[in-house]
């Protein structure tokens, strides 16, 4: 019960290393004892002093106390972070939220864009237990297909389906289309998904059609991260406290909103 409050204290830490993954994505590594205990699916709040504080899914958490987050340059805070150098100071709160339940058996990951980050973390943990691990990675272009080399190394090339909307890598289609092609042929025990909500809504529909259990990690506007401010609500759930990972049953309860509306900074519902 105290957990949320213990993890909620802001700590400052130095950036240990920065690695450019693509033109738009960099991986930042830093030490933080609490976040180093994070499980796949959990997120943290990263403070760029004087600029903003943003929610980020955790890419890796190691026993030596180091934590990694991958950050795509999309706005003011992420640009300011991209301009930082190793040794500079950032603030951290977390880890927050729940994590994916690690199922054994035949497991399928469906990632879209930056949604690959938490699923890569999960894949590393789940690989030794899974009888089969298949990864569908979707993106607009080859440049947006993050960590594809590592995913291919981890899962084996034959178990990776890359889909790009412009056909610059893998198959030219949406990740959800790749998913349907796969599900026609093969049965899985579990689907984990993360990415744009519209994509995840399609993945949920397919998971229902083919009767496969599913967990999805949702991204919403977040401010407090401890379930007070209401910025991240979807139906009766708060993504920061009740999620960010939700199962099919929960998502069906909020199907009027999931993949349809989110809340803007002023709390208004806006369409995707």
């Amino acid at each position: 019960m105290d957990y949320h409050i213990v993890a909620n204290k802001l700590r400052t830490t130095q950036i240990q290393s920065i690695k450019a993954e693509t033109q738009t994505v960099k991986t930042f590594t830093f030490k933080d004892k609490l976040c180093a205990k994070a499980k796949p699916g959990q997120f943290l709040m990263l403070w760029v002093p004087g600029v903003d504080e943003i929610p980020l899914s955790i890419l890796d958490a190691r026993e030596d106390g180091s934590v990694a987050v991958a950050v795509k340059k999309v706005g003011e805070a992420t640009s300011a972070l991209h301009n930082k150098k190793a040794g500079e100071i950032i603030g951290v709160r977390g880890p927050f939220g729940n994590d994916f339940t690690a199922k054994k058996g035949k497991v399928l990951m469906v990632a879209g864009g930056t949604g690959v980050f938490p699923l890569l973390f999960l894949s590393r943990k789940i690989k030794p237990k899974a009888t089969k691990l298949v990864f569908i990675a979707g993106a607009k272009t080859k440049e947006e297909l993050f960590f594809i080399d590592e995913i291919e190394r981890l899962c084996g090339k034959e178990n990776v389906v890359a889909s790009t909307e412009d056909g610059s890598y893998g198959i030219k289609c949406l990740a959800s289309e790749s998913l349907e092609l796969l599900l026609c042929k093969e049965k899985f025990d579990m689907i984990y998904t993360c990415g744009p909500e519209l994509m995840m809504r399609k993945v949920l529909n397919l998971a229902e059609k083919y009767e496969i259990a599913l967990e999805a990690s949702l991204e919403r506007l977040m401010r407090c991260a401890i379930g007070l401010c209401g910025s991240c609500v979807i139906g009766k759930y708060r993504v920061c406290r009740d999620g960010p990972v939700f199962n099919s049953q929960q998502l069906l309860e909020v199907k009027a909103e999931f993949g349809k509306f989110k809340r803007d900074f002023d709390g208004r519902k806006i369409s995707f």
Binding site: L10, T12, V233, R241, F265
Partner: protein, 306 residues
Amino acid sequence: MKDNRLTVNLAGLKLANPTMLASGILGYSAETLESIVAGGAGAVVTKSVGLKPRVGYANPTVVQVDCGLINAMGLPNPGIDAFVKEICQAKKVLNVPLIVSVYGFSEEEYAVVSKKAADAGADALELNVSCPHVKETGSEIGQKPEILSKVIKKVKATVDKPVFVKLSPNVTSIADIAEAAAKAGANALTAINTIKAMAIDPETAMPILGNKLGGLSGSAIKPIAVRCVYDIYERVKVPIIGCGGIASWRDAVEFFLAGASAVQIGTAIAIESSSVFRRVTRGLDAYLRRKGFRNVGEIVGLSHRC
């Protein structure tokens, strides 16, 4: 019999128990208010809503300190016209009184927003004249008795629902302000809103909150809030709603003894969950039974006899 012990008539509103959701916590949507009621709240207060949409401040908007939270959300809200839909929806699904928190940048704005909220079905209004970190509204109004009186009179002349006024502790004498509010027609007073505060990070020398200044809530402000309720009870006759750092039945009892007729809970929801309402209510009921009181009203202001 248990129900009777906890029932409260608060300025005409019938509450099954005297715990309420404090404004600013969740409260964007009917569904989240419903989940608070499922946790045991006797009434709910929405997020503060104004005439126009507001996006609020940049993050960090909440920072945790040793004894509570400091927040500077910046009154994010969709504006009353969009919020009317949520009020209507909430009225359909809630079985407890719905109080809409209202702010404005002028007495006219307070009145217009209050009217729209009341027409949409709000059972009462709570005027936010105490937000400590937004310019030209909130405590900037609540610190000036003349302006505060005008705002209350204007709202009272516009709506025929109970009007609660949430007071700021950031004043020299909260009892003076309370008296002005009661004279102007406030049907109940909520005491207190958060206390002006800030947090600075030693490593970077940066103020942490995006807005630099914020409002402190949680256990740190409880003794201050109890004193405020005590002071106000000595001066005015209207019911007082205690608010500030309540996390247990003992905290709640302290507020009742100081003179509160009901209590609001906010920050404790982050530490626990919405079930905090049920836990406080059960503890309060057990206390009343043990002490031989038939209704919570019997302990309101009891400490003033001493």
